[in-house]
């Protein structure tokens, strides 16, 4: 840690977290939350690409009605790998471990997270678990589907279930430790004056996410352990012939995996709150309602897991209870969406790339969320369960929602994290290409689902081919849309214009320090006297002067 700053403005680059130590060990043994965030950013992006390659395999196979591209066994491994990698290695850590790690301390005016070493351990656990999963993949993979349903995974599958299960188990602890860190940090490390209701909504979302992370993840951990023990020891907990119950596995599995989807989407919602408020240059409409709806989603989200079991043989009364609760959990998301929309009203909206992603999120999350209603209505779910309708629904939320939010957040914070600016032209094109490709890819799947095309099928009836071809075409366009940022963002690292500290003149604490920030975040502990998203004088920023400066440069 530097106690003395040596600033020679004309020659030496300013000391910031990126150049403060450039040995390998200064990165791999760092305790700086920002460096850990960058480590995660690289790993998570890598796994996103790997998962995307598997998706390409799926869409290529589905161009034709026959199962003719891959052997059935291989296809099964491909969609399983796609699911496991995207969910455990990408979606769950994506925003919390990258943007959350980087910006939560900055947003609340802290020097770091509460437990920096645990944060680093979190990354190592992630890499260890990912390593085991990749090893299992290279040995031949798993073919059980990411849901590992028994008895197929315990007694019938001849693939690397144990290794993959253990990999996921370890990654679970990475998630738990991240959540633990966030909760403690948010409770105890807010700067003076930063009350709960002055925090950015990004922090609220991550608090809600962390609640789920710590309470739900241990359940999948023990479930995976039971799965492994059952497979190895054949005790019978899930084996009906010996007295066990395969449906017990489904209940235990979904008890985590449903809240997990909220782990995946809540951080995205947090990013969107930031983007909408900041790019409309006004506070979020109904701040408290948005904050509490995050908590409500987290809490109610624990009560709806049975909607994955409507057709499983579960009692119809249980089904009715879960259907009711599922429709209830839709309400807080609706409230958020309305509040975001209302924030746009009388805003001063700039159409920068992050805002494009945010608007894209709004549209796609609307569709994704609304289609959840179809699935929550129990009678309709009977027809649609396990079909492509469900696949389309969750991809609209996960990709159309979360990934858009992730990309929006990366673009938004690019100048802050790297001190560079990317090409606005190319980024807007990428956003539009992504939006088009995404819709072409997934919208036909709603129709396919209602027609009756089941999930996890390598072959399908001929009459469904046209829709599948449309979908695969969309996949290739989406691939281009996702690939483009890789190029122009990396390009910007070397050739991009240097960014000013507060590129868009925003009032958040993270914007009040340098781009990129110094290792200790703030030279002096900030003292907060203004509301969140304060675009007036109370913020202490001189917007008027900034405006004049901008007008003068035109």
């Amino acid at each position: 840690m530097e106690n003395v700053e040596v600033i020679n403005i004309t020659q030496k680059p300013k000391l910031n977290y990126l150049n403060n130590g450039d040995t390998v060990s200064s990165w791999l043994l760092t305790r700086d939350h920002k460096r850990i965030a960058i480590l995660y950013l690289i790993s998570v992006s890598f796994f996103f690409m790997v998962g995307g390659l598997f998706a390409a395999g799926i869409r290529l196979e589905l161009l034709t009605p026959q199962s003719d591209l891959f052997e059935s066994g291989t296809y099964n491994k491909i969609f399983t790998a796609h699911g496991i990698i995207m969910i455990f290695l990408f979606l769950i850590p994506s925003i919390p471990a990258t943007l959350g790690n980087f910006f939560i301390p900055l947003m609340i005016g802290a020097k770091d997270l509460a437990f920096p070493r645990i944060n680093l351990l979190s990354w190592y656990l992630y890499m260890a678990g990912a390593g085991i999963a990749v090893w299992a993949l290279m040995q031949g993979g798993v073919d059980t589907g990411w849901t590992f349903y028994v008895p197929y995974s315990t007694t019938f599958s001849n693939t690397y279930v144990v290794a993959t299960g253990l990999g996921a188990f370890i990654i679970g602890f990475s998630s738990i430790l991240t959540g633990l860190n966030f909760i403690v940090t948010i409770h105890t490390m807010r700067a003076p004056g930063m009350t709960w209701f002055r925090m950015p909504l990004f922090v609220w979302s991550h608090y809600a996410t962390s609640l789920i992370m710590i309470l739900a993840t241990p359940v999948i951990a023990i479930t995976l352990l039971l799965l492994v023990l059952e497979r190895v020891g054949r005790v019978g907990i899930f084996d009906p012939a010996i007295g066990g119950d395969p449906i017990l596995f489904q209940h235990l599995f979904w008890f985590y995996s449903h809240p997990a989807v909220y782990i995946m989407v809540l951080p995205g919602m947090g990013v969107i709150s930031e983007l909408i408020a900041n790019f409309s240059r006004k506070r979020i409409f109904g701040y408290e309602y948005v904050a509490f709806s995050s908590i409500a989603i987290a809490v109610i989200g624990f009560l709806v897991w049975g909607h994955h079991l409507f057709v499983s043989g579960q009692s119809i009364y249980a089904g009715l209870v879960f259907s009711f609760l599922t429709l209830v959990v839709a309400i807080p998301s609706a409230v958020k969406t309305f509040n975001w929309t209302a924030t746009l009203y009388k805003g001063s909206i700039s159409w920068d790339t992050p805002m494009i992603y945010a608007l894209g999120f709004l549209g796609l999350f609307l569709i994704g969320g609304l289609t959840g209603l179809f699935l929550g209505a129990a009678g309709l779910d009977i027809h649609m369960s396990d079909t492509y309708f469900v696949v389309a629904h969750f991809h609209y939320i996960m990709v159309g929602g979360q990934v858009m939010a992730y990309l929006g957040g990366i673009h938004y914070y690019w100048s802050k994290m790297t001190g560079r600016m990317y090409s606005e032209f190319w980024s807007k094109i990428a956003a539009i290409v992504t939006f088009i490709g995404f819709n072409l890819l997934f919208f036909p799947q709603f129709i396919l689902g209602y027609l009756g095309m089941p999930r996890r099928y390598a072959s399908y009836p001929e009459e469904m081919q046209v829709l599948n071809i449309l979908s695969s075409a969309g996949a290739s366009i989406l691939g281009v849309g996702f690939a483009m940022p890789v190029f122009y963002l990396i390009f910007s690292l070397f050739y991009g214009k240097k960014a000013p500290d507060n590129l868009w003149m925003l009032p958040g604490l993270e914007w009040r320090t340098e781009s990129p920030p110094p290792t200790e975040n703030f030279y002096e502990t900030p003292i907060v006297t203004w509301e969140a998203y304060e675009f007036g004088e109370e913020s202490g920023l001189d917007f008027e002067e900034a405006r004049k400066r901008e007008m003068a440069t035109i």
Binding site: L180, V184, G233, I242
Partner: protein, 307 residues
């Protein structure tokens, strides 16, 4: 010490020993450590929760099998362990108290006592597990004692007159435990043959629907099928107490570290938070056992008389 005014805190660059760089002051650090430990414990509860759920599900499906298994756990040792843990929680709480009072010697003594009790718990558990190993009650093939002598195959299904004092082998009820080597178990399988509880439940008509099909084959009680369910009980027993014992071991390691630090005089009224949060962890491990003991050892138990 609380009596002196600490002017050091006024000095901008002074960092009390033990203050980590991300915190503003010790108060923040201690609060963080405390909240952190509570959050961690919440997570641990959910971790055990999956096992408790499985226990509940299977107990309600096969109460007789679970009662049979439960009756063969040694309630004396279980109760002893419960007592040991409760006392260890007392000594742990006292360790925290003495740390707060900056009393180094008493702290150390209390931590040592806590460790002794913890080790005792593990020792008793080891004895119990060994008994299970000897009796062929470990639910994994190969992990039970293999038979030495194949001339004395005395598997008897006679259920009457259990000796209350000694622990009868389930294969030879009424047989004295010293002669374990008699029964055959060449592969180290789980073995259970006493289905007497089923007959009793059948007569009293309190078999559950699952039991009415699960224990029977062709209308007769099937020892093999009953054995499967008892094996489930023991599996859950080992999983839950095993996971608990693992946490106990981790607790002992934690105590060892704490002991070392306490011996060096690290903890005082100004800085005792590690003792406090270690105490929290220890109490948690204790509480889990308080739940495990009645669920596994006491429910369904019949004291004295016949099953």
């Amino acid at each position: 010490m609380a009596t002196n005014v600490d002017t050091h805190a006024l000095d901008h660059h002074y960092h009390p020993p033990g203050l980590q760089h991300q915190f503003e002051d010790m108060g923040q650090q201690q609060e963080s450590a405390s909240i952190g430990m509570w959050v961690f414990l919440a997570q641990e509860i959910m971790f055990f929760g999956g096992l408790f759920t499985s226990y509940l599900v299977f107990r309600s499906k096969y109460p007789m099998a679970f009662a049979a298994g439960s009756n063969h756990l040694d309630v004396v040792m279980g109760a002893l362990n419960t007592l040991v843990l409760i006392v260890s929680s007392l000594t742990m709480a006292l360790a925290v108290y003495f740390a707060q009072k900056s009393n180094r010697n008493m702290q150390v003594i209390m931590i040592v006592l806590t460790m002794i009790f913890g080790a005792t718990f593990l020792g008793v558990k080891a004895i119990e597990y060994t008994e299970k190993y000897n009796d062929g009650l470990v639910p994994f093939t190969g992990l039970n004692r293999r038979a030495k002598d194949d001339q004395h195959n005395r598997k008897s299904l006679e259920p009457e007159s259990q000796h209350e004092q000694s622990l009868p082998s389930p294969n030879n009820p009424g047989h004295q435990p010293e002669a374990h080597g008699d029964y055959i178990n060449p592969r180290g399988d789980f073995q259970w043959s006493d289905t007497s509880l089923v007959a009793i439940a059948q007569q009293g008509n309190f078999l559950t629907d699952w039991e009415k099909t699960g224990y029977f084959e062709d209308g007769e009680v099937s020892a093999a099928r009953f054995q499967d369910k008892v094996r489930l009980f023991f599996w859950i027993y080992f999983a839950m107490t095993g996971l608990h014992a693992l946490h106990m071991v981790i607790g002992l390691v934690l105590m060892a570290w704490l002991l070392w630090k306490a011996w060096r005089g690290t903890f005082s009224a100004e800085y005792y938070s590690p003792v406090e949060i270690s105490g929290l962890y220890w109490h948690f491990v204790d509480i889990v056992w308080i739940f495990l003991f009645p669920l596994l050892y006491l429910l369904g138990r019949h004291f004295g008389g016949t099953h």
